[in-house]
Homo-oligomer: 153 residues x 2
């Protein structure tokens, strides 16, 4: 995909995050993917949960995408897209850095802090995407131990 192809279309942005999530699943990891986009639809960073791959418990989809974007000044006009409702860690990331918008693949299999974020004025869109739901449902059924580890249960 061209870096600007998404152009802030939620479904097109989600496709980038979903590709990351599928890659993570194929690697034996937690299938959550994310990407950070600029106001012009330019992809700033993309990433996936890498708990298994890197042995890194802080590498959630959103934190990986945020890291991949490098050091930036000001996130108010950026959009974080993620395949799954952001956990409290990743919701805290959005709040602290003032990321302006969050696009979420699904919030059925897990719900983190996206309603909390909306209360602070973050523009939150939940797409309720069936592919995101299926990916997580299958993963949680197959690896409940890994999933619970990833969310600190």
């Amino acid at each position: 995909m061209d870096d600007t192809a998404a152009a802030l279309d939620p479904a097109a942005m989600l496709a980038v995050a979903l590709e990351e999530a599928r890659t993570g699943r194929a690697e034996g990891g937690v299938p959550v993917g994310a990407a950070l986009f600029g106001p012009d639809g330019r992809l700033l960073g993309r990433g996936r949960n890498r708990r298994v791959q890197d042995g890194d418990p802080a590498a959630h989809g959103e934190t990986s995408a945020f890291r991949a974007a490098g050091r930036l000044r000001g996130y108010g006009d950026t959009t974080m897209v993620t395949t799954l409702s952001p956990c409290w860690f990743c919701s805290g990331l959005v709040r602290q850095f003032g990321i302006g918008a969050v696009v979420i693949g699904e919030a059925r299999t897990f719900q983190g802090g996206h309603e909390w974020l909306a209360g602070f004025g973050v523009r939150v869109t939940v797409l309720d995407d069936p592919e995101c739901v299926a990916l997580m449902r299958d993963f949680i059924a197959a690896r409940p131990d890994l999933w619970e580890e990833d969310i600190g249960r």
Copy 2:
């Protein structure tokens, strides 16, 4: 310091975090350090803000210490000690992973989510340590640009 020397004494634990913060300052970085301790006072991981050193905007003191501890199951009996009140990103980390206690060097120069955490039952101790305050005051006066970047202002 011996790995178990701290033995959950707040001042001894803070000394580890403060050493990290001072190292970070000497490296030209944001001087916030942290460490994660187990219930027996064993040091599980320690780290410091590495935004400048690694070009990593997600490397706050607390996230660095959490990563250094590697993959763990259950954080309820762990203590995160940090030189500075945890920002929302790091407060979200504590909440999501259920870290049981947070020891904070100071909350004068910056206040993140530690009161929010206390409201969820996290045992929060603020030491109001003058060395931690001085370290941050000097840093913020010297590098306001870097400090504001680090907290997304």
